[in-house]
Amino acid sequence: MLPNLTSNVVLSVNNVITRFQTSEGTIHAVNGVSFDVRKGELLGVVGESGCGKTVTMMSLVKLLPMPPGEIVEGSAFFEGHDLIQANVSTLQKIRGGSIGFIFQDPMTSLNPVLTVGYQLTEALRLHKSVSKTMARKRAAELLDLVGIPMAKERLNDYPHQFSGGMRQRVMIAIALSCDPKLLIADEPTTALDVTIQAQILDLIKTVRQELGMAIIWVTHDLSVVANLADRVMVMYSGFVVERADVQKLYSAPKHPYTSALLRSLPEMKGERARRLESIEGQPPDQLQFPNSCPFAPRCAYAFEPCNTKNPLLEFVSEGHEVACWWDMEKNVPRKTA
């Protein structure tokens, strides 16, 4: 990795390894993931289910069930603390305080028996010593900020009185309540309809402009982050396989997996492809730690080194890292292979 201007980095994650002990054996969920999130940046984390994107995020803030989960190695520096080593009380100050969360399903992540107002002020009262009246005032402002009409009146409503999109807005308001420096959004629009998704994406753009926090946006949908992220990191089977500035990643993907994923999406314009390009096979089961490239069995470019050693993430051009032995552009093996 390039040397970082530490002042500019909000979160610095280094070589996180997370495993799960199950009756069938050890699941190698996250296999040495490193990344930085810069101030005000939106980092997209893309991958299919089981690729370790959520487990990585949960490892950082220790929201994993442990056991069966186990963070074997790694560090994650945030505001001078190593989150992985931090004790529970430090973590509790950070979680919901300077790191906010938005989860996928707004129905199950809100408590159905508490009013929205209560859930909105909970974090405020825990993290900032504010009076009840001040907290309610702030809660109303937050609901207003996320575009809920009649914010003040709606504080006394329960989650079931809100629609799915509105509930996700409430979740965003909660995540924003303590002015986080970092927002971790895990598939925040996956459970929503496209017109509602468009509303939420617009909201995030506005909120980001106004508040300027860094955001990690986890999704399985490459097209959602295309218009949102500054940088995108693609994960496969617990590894980061490619990371680049958003333009570079979409216009010239350098990992066969990224490239195949992009090509498997049907087009919205132009001639309809006669057949979709599909990636045959399925992701590995992760019970074995791979000593070869985990994508090799499904890869159209796989050649001899791919089956014997796992490529490391390396810079191949400015702002573009990839973990692959094959240079797709020049159609030759990389020097390191």
């Binding site: 289910s49 017109t195 509303q199 490459l222 295309a226 333009q247 999406l265 049907p266 492809a273 979709l276």
Partner: protein
């Protein structure tokens, strides 16, 4: 009333006319009816043999209810469902049973739609046991043939659903739907629960099967991009009604209804450069409750170009170009 039909170059396999499906809303100890959910509120269209009609709409618009009504899993409140010129809406149960093998459904969630306690072989053979009288040998031959047709190893017959991945389970669901040689299959969000890299595999399989077996599909999805790929003709549903229907190319390039336009502009593109330049019409608000739909045009509460007349009457469908129909007052 004009019909949102394709002009007939062949006899349609399925014609539905003014289909309505209402559900009562009850309350209290005596289950008194206090209202009606108008899940499907007057839908017309037809599907030609070997056609693939895409049905798009957001959750709660009535897509799945319409699918279930067409297959007579619900008894329609009103309307006609002509399948090969037989009206399913009024058919008695024995006559309906005789027709069932011709119409099948593939469900969204391959996890929930397969019985975890049955082997793959018995899941696929269940419709055969129910409708045909095959000997043991013939039955197992048929199961193996079906497994092969959907790209699974025929040796898997004695395995259980949990031993398969999501994509493979969806293939099992497809094999079951094919077991009685149907002519018409409703695919209800068949890829929504699958990973991106697996979606293309399943869509390709469905397309191959359609070509090989001459199937007719009603393909329900909220994924407008996939619908554009798989369907030649597309219907857009909003609050229990079809608001626009037409050939896919035409509908995607010259959408007439403001809802269709908004839906299309909400689809995120995987092209950061183009995305930044695109003009997007983001709809405000949510879909109104079908228990209390607005008067007049169902879309008027969210419509960016709404006028006073939209509240007064429901717009009639108009044919804006050959086989392209849209229901909006603003279309001249």
């Amino acid at each position: 009333m004009s019909m949102m039909n394709i002009s007939l170059s062949a006899d349609p396999l399925l014609t539905i006319k003014n289909v309505k499906q209402y559900f009562p809303v009850t309350a209290g100890f005596l289950r008194r009816q206090i209202g009606t959910v108008k899940a499907v509120n007057g839908v017309d269209f037809n599907i030609l043999p070997q056609e693939n009609l895409g049905l798009v709409g957001e959750s709660g618009c009535g897509k799945t209810t319409l699918a279930r009504t067409i297959l007579r899993l619900y008894k329609p409140t009103e309307g006609e469902i002509l399948f090969k010129n037989v009206d399913l809406a009024t058919l008695n149960s024995s006559a309906l049973r005789a027709l069932r093998p011709k119409m099948q459904m593939i469900f969204q969630d391959p996890q929930d739609s397969l019985n975890p306690r049955m082997t793959v072989g018995s899941i696929i053979a269940e419709p055969i046991d129910e409708h045909r009288n095959l000997g043991r040998e013939e039955r197992s031959d048929r199961v193996e043939e079906l497994l092969e047709a959907v790209g699974l190893d025929p040796r898997y017959t004695n395995r259980y659903p949990h031993e398969f991945s999501g994509g493979q389970r969806q293939r099992i669901g497809i094999a079951r739907a094919l077991s009685l040689n149907p002519e018409f299959i409703i695919c209800d969000e068949p890829i929504a629960a699958l990973d991106v890299s697996i979606q293309a595999q399943v869509v390709n399989l469905l397309e191959d099967l359609q070509e090989k077996l001459g199937l007719t599909y009603l393909f329900i999805s909220h994924d407008l991009r996939m619908i554009r790929h798989i369907s030649k003709r597309v219907a857009v549903m909003y609050l229990g009604k079809i608001v626009e229907i037409g050939p896919a190319r035409e509908l995607y390039t010259r959408a007439q209804h403001p809802y269709t336009k908004a839906l299309l502009s909400a689809v995120p593109l995987h092209d950061p450069g183009h995305e930044a330049k695109r003009e997007r019409a983001v709809l405000s608000g949510d879909v109104p409750s079908p228990a209390n739909p607005p008067t007049g045009c169902p879309f008027r509460m969210r419509c960016p170009v709404v006028e006073t007349r939209c509240a007064i009457s429901m717009p009639e469908p108009r044919e804006v170009s050959p086989n392209h129909w849209a229901s909006c007052h603003l279309i001249e």
